[in-house]
């Protein structure tokens, strides 16, 4: 039985494909038939040509029918009926543009948002590196005692693990740094990855042209100046010329030979941005000729830090097995070189797998939940509209059922309509998903660079799933309900509508309650976020922010190695101190709310060596606290004599946390000693306590300690905090050394003697405004080295940058909530419109008997009261529960903010009232006579 059916299917398919040929055959065959008939008639004695044609046509019957019937045999019946369904669905959707547009808009936004979030989530949390067989590639982290994952190990340890590990078929190392490539005018600061020789082979990355590195090119002590360039650099600098291989490229001060170009789909490994070229690790000394010691240390010393390590699991080895082996090997190695034993953590290459517990994930999950809720809401809503529509169409459906349409067929027709909507919305949603994810990740994870954010087949699968779900959710229930009425309503329309209320109501009530609940949750969430952002934006950060500008020095791409940087920093600091008009400027490494910060491990005397805690450290000049108006609450402040010394100031939080019951002044903390070779753990004495300020984040005050600026031999790129002084700038001294501003020699000469005497120059004596101070600073820097640039920004910009994530989060939440509100309004409108329509006769009767309009409105309202109250109740509980998760993730959110609940409920109430207005008015305008006549 099976086989003939299969054969018939193939024949059918062939006929379908050779459709034109098939139709021609049939036509010719029928023509032959007609001619034969004509001949037969002619033989029978019919002479008249007209008569002949008529008679033959008559005898022939309906040729078109014959042809269509014959062709119909070949067309699988469902193909045709699906086409019919689609055409019919399109027509019926076109007939109701308001319904169609509302539904489409709701679905497009919901699906678009969801797919975008999924894309971003996928790129961050699920997508591994773009290498061959990525699931077998793992990364090695150093798991510290405090739970921090340190990115990478020393290269010495790497080599030991590489030579001894059996669990990995290959182990690779990468150290990423910035270099300057090209000659003077075309010089460019780029990111370069120093890698071991089989880096590309282990990852399975191919070259577009040329080759990757040979084993000989990565021998320590025998550096060869070769490099492999990225596709982008190849296109940009060499115009994609295959002849680029074999040409040379200047990297810092050495000329490297290009041996290959990497294929375009490889974007590097890790989240530190895409390197533009790769150089063997052993060739690092060639690239950094000015700093041979630190490079040699990095390459050879077991205590040096660090290179990112990744490996490919050997066949049949799990991540856990590799973990065990590496643990063992790492312990052996560290004991043999006398280093503290930590544990390497073997993790997958997905970006978020390495960022556990940084909060971003939670925010992300929340956004995901919210938009999924909106999608559900959209579905509930569209479902609601569809129920109303199905009921409005029950006459039509009844007619179709009465005329013999089977119930499955009618259900299919209704499903086709929702499918058409869902597919259209899904298509546009995917379109949106091509540009939105970039914006989302930039907003949510400002620091992380995601290599690839284009949607892919996973996304398509996800969206198709969403569409199918949406289609089922809002199509199936109404369809089944709509056809359950059978054919009776056609015969007896009054019983039909009464039954409709009975069966339709439970479903509609549930939908209404669901929407109200979800809308309330989203509205409350958005309001909480918005209020949180507002509160933080207006709160006092604890330091002066409005009259302060931050100047940073921009060193040229070439010529500033470590010694030169250190020398320049010293020159600059000395010169700055010598300038009366800039003397009050503060120096620091990172200004408050900067994008970078310095974390140090410290411990208290008497604590075990592995009991270190990580605390934020700021290097500041004595003027720092004055400029930022952070007062000293105990002890003394820094003096110029403290530079490089072992003293520190702590903020109140640190004082409270480390010495809960004692006066911190005079106590010491012990630094871990740093990574510099030979640095012994150093004791630092606490000399004072400063007031808490939100310098490292706006959500809470972290423990912070301040140390004086480093000694002159340490390279240091200072940031300069300039302050606008209200009047004569008392702290700045009586006058500025305006005349000497252009003369570096003079400035330096007078440096040690303090403020120079006024020379009666053309410039204002003291720079009291920020612009003047900035100009003076630029002049000063220019006089020291014209190649160094100065960038000046208000400190407020940092504050705004810091708030951006929260602001964007609140804006997204607001948009989502607004959408939810509109959807809820549509839903409420749908329900009331339905109630009024279904009870027209009853209302008419009541009005004929003297009911007042407000009684009629109350009647309509009462029918949905339970659903409304239930939905709002559940929503309030859900909102309260949900917002508990928001606390601590976003600044300033408090879950029990009554104003948020009141605002959200009020908004929802206004929207609901507006939505009921039209149906209610229709109810009060029902003409009793007309309504009763219908009975």
């Amino acid at each position: 039985m099976k086989e003939p059916a299969m054969k018939a299917f193939w024949r059918r398919l062939r006929a379908r494909i050779r459709h034109r040929h098939f139709a021609a055959d049939l036509d010719e065959e029928l023509a032959f038939h007609r001619d034969m008939k004509k001949d037969a008639l002619a033989r029978a004695g019919v002479d008249n040509a007209d008569d002949l044609a008529t008679r033959s046509a008559h005898e022939m019957g309906n040729t078109t029918l014959a042809r269509e019937a014959a062709r119909g045999v070949w067309i699988a019946p469902w193909i045709d009926s699906v086409r019919q369904d689609l055409v019919y669905a399109a027509r019926s959707l076109r007939r109701q543009p308001a319904f169609t547009v509302a539904t489409l808009a709701a679905l497009i936004v919901a699906i678009g948002l969801n797919t975008s979030l999924f894309t971003a989530y996928y790129a961050l949390a699920l997508r591994p590196w773009a290498v061959a067989d990525p699931w077998r590639v793992v990364m090695l982290f150093d798991l510290r005692a405090n739970g921090f994952l340190n990115d990478g190990l020393s290269l010495a340890e790497y080599r030991y693990l590489r030579d001894h590990a059996h669990a990995l078929s290959g182990l690779i190392a990468k150290h990423q740094r910035e270099v300057v490539i090209g000659d003077d005018e075309a010089a460019q600061r780029v990111s370069v990855a120093f890698v071991n020789s089989n880096y590309f082979d282990v990852l399975g990355v191919r070259t577009a042209v040329g080759r990757t590195f040979l084993a000989d090119e990565d021998r320590l002590g025998a550096p060869l100046a070769v490099c492999v360039i990225g596709y982008g650099l190849w296109q940009g600098r060499f115009g994609g010329d295959p002849g680029a291989v074999g040409r040379t490229l200047r990297v810092n001060d050495t000329t490297f030979t290009i041996v290959g170009v990497i294929a375009s789909d490889f974007k590097g490994t890790g989240d530190r941005g895409e390197p533009l070229l790769w150089i063997p690790l052993a060739a690092m000394p060639l690239a950094f000729t000015s700093d041979p010691t630190s490079v040699r240390d990095l390459l050879e010393k077991p205590s040096a830090c660090c290179a990112s390590i990744a490996g490919r699991l050997a066949l049949g080895v799990t991540r856990e097995q590799a973990q065990l082996e590496l643990d063992q090997l790492s312990r052996l190695f560290r004991q043999s070189v006398g280093q503290k034993v930590t544990h390497p953590a073997v993790l997958p290459t997905r970006i978020l797998a390495q960022n556990k517990g940084n909060g971003a994930m939670v925010v992300f999950a929340l956004m995901f939940t919210c938009t999924t809720l909106v999608l559900l809401l959209a579905c509930a809503n569209v479902g609601n509209l569809c129920v109303a529509r199905a009921l409005a169409r029950q006459h039509e459906i009844a007619v179709r059922l009465s005329l013999g349409a089977s119930r499955p067929r009618v259900i299919r027709q209704l499903l086709t309509e929702s499918l058409l909507l869902a597919v259209t919305a899904g298509t546009i949603g995917i379109g949106i998903a091509f540009f939105l994810p970039n914006l989302l990740t930039e907003a949510a994870f400002p620091g992380v660079r995601v290599p690839d954010l284009s949607p892919d087949w996973m996304l398509l699968a996800f969206t198709c799933g969403l569409c199918a779900l949406a289609c089922l959710l809002f199509g199936l229930a109404p369809a089944i309900r709509g056809t359950r009425l059978g054919t009776i309503p056609l015969a007896d329309s009054s019983t039909g509508s009464t039954r409709a209320i009975g069966t339709g109501f439970a479903l509609r009530g549930l939908l209404l309650a669901t929407q109200l609940a979800i809308s309330l949750i989203l509205l409350v969430g958005a309001t909480l976020l918005a209020r949180g952002v507002q509160r933080v934006a207006t709160q006092d950060p604890g330091f002066a922010i409005d009259d302060v500008a931050v100047a940073s020095l921009e060193l040229p791409a070439r010529g500033f190695d470590r010694p030169r940087t250190a020398a320049f920093a010293h020159e600059f600091t000395t010169a700055l101190r010598a300038r009366a008009d800039l003397r009050s400027a503060a120096l620091t490494m990172f200004e408050p709310l900067a994008s970078g910060r310095v974390l140090t491990s410290i411990r208290l005397p008497g604590e075990a060596e592995n009991r270190t805690r990580t605390i934020e450290q700021h290097l500041v000049s004595p003027e720092y606290f004055d400029v930022l108006e952070i007062p000293l609450v105990a002890g003394r402040g820094f003096t110029p004599g403290d530079v490089g010394g072992g003293v520190a100031l702590v903020n109140q939080t640190m004082a409270r946390e480390l010495w809960p019951n004692d006066n911190p002044i005079g106590r010491t903390i012990i630094g871990a000693g740093g990574r510099r070779p030979g640095a012994a753990p150093s004791a630092t004495e606490i000399i004072g306590v400063v007031r808490d300020a939100y310098t490292s984040g706006l959500d809470r005050v972290e423990p912070v300690f301040y140390k004086p600026l480093p000694p002159p031999d340490v390279p240091f790129q200072p940031r300069i905090l300039l302050k606008q002084r209200p009047s004569a700038a008392g702290a700045a001294g009586p006058a500025g050394a305006a005349g000497s501003a252009r003369s570096a020699g003079a400035t330096r000469a007078t440096g040690a003697t303090g403020p120079a005497a006024p020379t009666g120059a053309a410039e204002p004596a003291v720079a009291t405004d920020l612009a003047g101070a900035a100009t003076a600073l630029r002049a000063l820097v220019h006089s020291l080295d014209p190649r160094v640039g100065v960038k000046v920004e208000p400190l407020r910009a940092n504050f705004d940058r810091w708030l951006t994530a929260s602001r964007v989060g609140a804006a997204i939440a607001g948009a989502v909530a607004l959408l939810a509100l509109v959807l809820a309004a549509i839903g409420v409108f749908g329900v009331f419109a339905f109630v009024v329509q279904a009870r027209t006769q009853e209302i008419g009767l009541r009005m004929a008997l003297g009911a007042r309009p407000h009684q009629v409105v109350a009647l309509v309202m009462r029918s949905t009261a339970w659903a409304t109250l239930g939905g709002l109740g559940v929503g309030a509980i859900g909102a309260f529960a949900g917002s508990r998760f928001l606390v601590g993730q976003l600044y300033g959110v408090s879950p029990s903010d009554p104003a948020a609940y009141i605002t959200a409920s009020a908004l929802l109430a206004i929207a609901a009232a507006a939505a009921t207005f039209l149906p209610a008015r229709r109810a009060t305008r029902i003409d009793p006579i007309a309504a009763l006549r219908r009975e």
Binding site: P4, N62, A66, A69
Partner: protein, 112 residues
Amino acid sequence: MASHDQAAELLPGTLDMLILRVLARETMHGYGIAQRLKQLSKDVLQIGESSLYPALQRLLLNGFVEAEWRPSENNRRARYYTLTRAGRKHLAAEQQEFDRLIAAIHRVLETA
């Protein structure tokens, strides 16, 4: 239908069998099949094109007949249908089934 008043209604499903039976004797085109049926049944069975051609297509689809373009007796291009092996088997089965049915109907008519 033109021939409704004089022509007998066919039992459902029998047309396919009759066509196969006609084709069992010789390869024939559609018009020929109709003529032969009319002639053999002494004008009782007049098959309209709107039944004949769908029936032929159905037989083609099921693989019971094959079609081929060939010159006709008066030298025109006509589509000739040939019974296949499957068609022959099908015809035998159908004929047996039909005989059983007719016999049953007969018995009912005679004894009831």
